[in-house]
Symmetry: C2
Subunit: 268 residues, 2 copies
């Protein structure tokens, strides 16, 4: 049965598209059939990644494992202005097509609220929420008191996930797993990291998400985007950038991430 | 005459709110009257910053220079669902109120397209667009060929600014300055930085923006958000975090930024 992974965070630039592309390519290298749906209808970073990938592979005559995108719309951005029922229909058709053909469906969502993003959250098996080590990012999950630094209440994105879980419970009684993933971690920010982490952990217990250490801020995680490649694709034949020791660290980090997400070879 | 500074980038997480808050506080410390309008109607990071600031100052009995927010709406998020004409009216009234009372108006806009964001871009004296050193961020400004890495054409956010400039020319014949500001720069990414920089510079010549080195990625630029403070506020009496040498570097960096934006003391 197809696993649906939704990369969600209403906070912009948290790393949804970056983590999504790396998870997708990792799954491809594990031999899985991977479909993607890019619901960031104007920006389309994930779709751009795979379009770059196809063009780069063709021009360089390299074989690269590819994810496929089910047909959503000839002009995806127009789904932002059509009636909601029509947008939902387009999404449901694309999702059905993906379920037919894929082991995993990667759904990238925009920073910001949209009916299709909410619908994607409600159909997910697992919601993956990257976030920066930052109270600005945390502000979308939980409201923090400026004087005590206590988490006062869940914030708008925690509400979005809450509502999606309620919706799903109504539809088929199933629950949705939710993981918050620290992203763009820097080497020497112990005090701030600890402060943010304590609030994230506290909120996670309250609203039901697990917190995982994710990815360090590494240039290799963004440097290969124009080619549609990730560090997992690099090899003797595929070398648009010089090799570096940080690539080894990045590969290890990605393997650990996939393991902690329950997505490693042999797991479902 | 009031100067209107719009922080815009359809790309999420580029640093609009972070740079906006630091510019605002710097202007306040220069003795300017500063108003802000936060058009990120759900997220409201800039409004949250100043709300944190007021509460922190009150609870700690400290005097802090404050920016004021003209009345936009009792529930700003409802402006996302009202008819566009009504939203524009609310914005125009808030802008008029700010013009009456401020030397500088800081307008923060969302990652993503919205009628009020476009309207703000059209009324700006200066559009400030922070961006990460990343082809993902650049993809919103210009489309890059995966094989040649040439900039093929302007992308959706460059079109947004283009349309805003056309709109403004129709309204009053004035031109709008546009600065792209590199943000979250890391220490050791020379190859990627050079690659991105060459495309940014090339596009800047084509579509009319200046490129400035902006801010390094420094934890101090995000660590003080929960208190509504910036490094410029820190002093013997105002010390929610221990002093560090990086604060000196940050202050120097911010002064240089303000100078390169034409916002230093003595300039208009
Ligand atoms: N672990 C990382 N290491 C290095 N750079 C990263 C990492 N994660 C994200 N980035 C960079 O941070 C920026 C934001 O990442 P990304 O675009 O993936 O976030 P997003 O949540 O999809 O944003 P949006 O809300 O705009 O869709 C991009 O420039 C990206 O290249
Ligand atoms: N120069 C910097 N140094 C350190 N952290 C930064 C810097 N600039 C931005 N950040 C952090 O990067 C993240 C994104 O910044 P910010 O929220 O200001 O961007 P934005 O463009 O306003 O995003 P959105 O599109 O969601 O409104 C935040 O976690 C912020 O704290
Ligand atoms: Mg994205
Ligand atoms: Mg913002």
């Amino acid at each position: 049965d197809t696993r649906i992974l939704v990369f969600g965070n209403e906070k912009g630039g948290a790393g949804k598209s970056t983590v999504a592309m790396h998870v997708a390519v990792h799954l491809l290298h594990l031999g899985k059939r991977v479909a993607f749906i890019d619901l960031d209808l104007r920006q389309r970073s994930l779709a751009r990644f795979f379009s770059n990938r196809a063009k780069w592979a063709a021009a360089n005559e390299k074989a690269l494992p590819m994810a496929f995108e089910p047909h959503l719309h000839d002009k995806p951005a127009s789904l932002l202005t059509v009636p909601e029922a029509e947008a939902r229909q387009a999404f449901d058709r694309a999702l059905d097509e993906a379920i037919e053909q894929a082991d995993y469906i990667i759904i990238d969502t925009p920073g910001g609220d949209h009916v299709l993003s909410r619908r994607a959250h409600a159909v997910a098996h697992l919601i993956i929420t990257p976030m920066n080590d930052s109270f600005i990012d945390f502000d979308l999950l939980g409201e923090v008191d400026p004087v005590t630094l206590d988490v006062k209440r869940p914030s708008i994105y925690a509400e979005t996930v809450w509502n999606s879980r309620k919706q799903r419970a109504v539809w088929d009684g199933k629950s949705i797993d939710w993981i918050v993933l620290r992203n763009r971690l820097a080497a020497n920010e112990a005090r701030n990291r600890k402060r943010v982490d304590e609030r994230v952990q506290a909120l996670g217990k309250r609203v039901g998400f697990e917190v995982l250490a994710g990815l360090r801020d590494r240039v290799i995680y963004r440097e290969l985007f124009p080619f549609g490649l990730t560090v997992a694709d690099l090899s003797a034949e595929i070398r648009p950038v010089a090799v570096s020791l940080t690539h080894i660290a990045a590969r290890a980090e990605l393997r650990a991430l996939m393991g902690s997400l329950g997505l490693e070879a042999g797991e479902e």
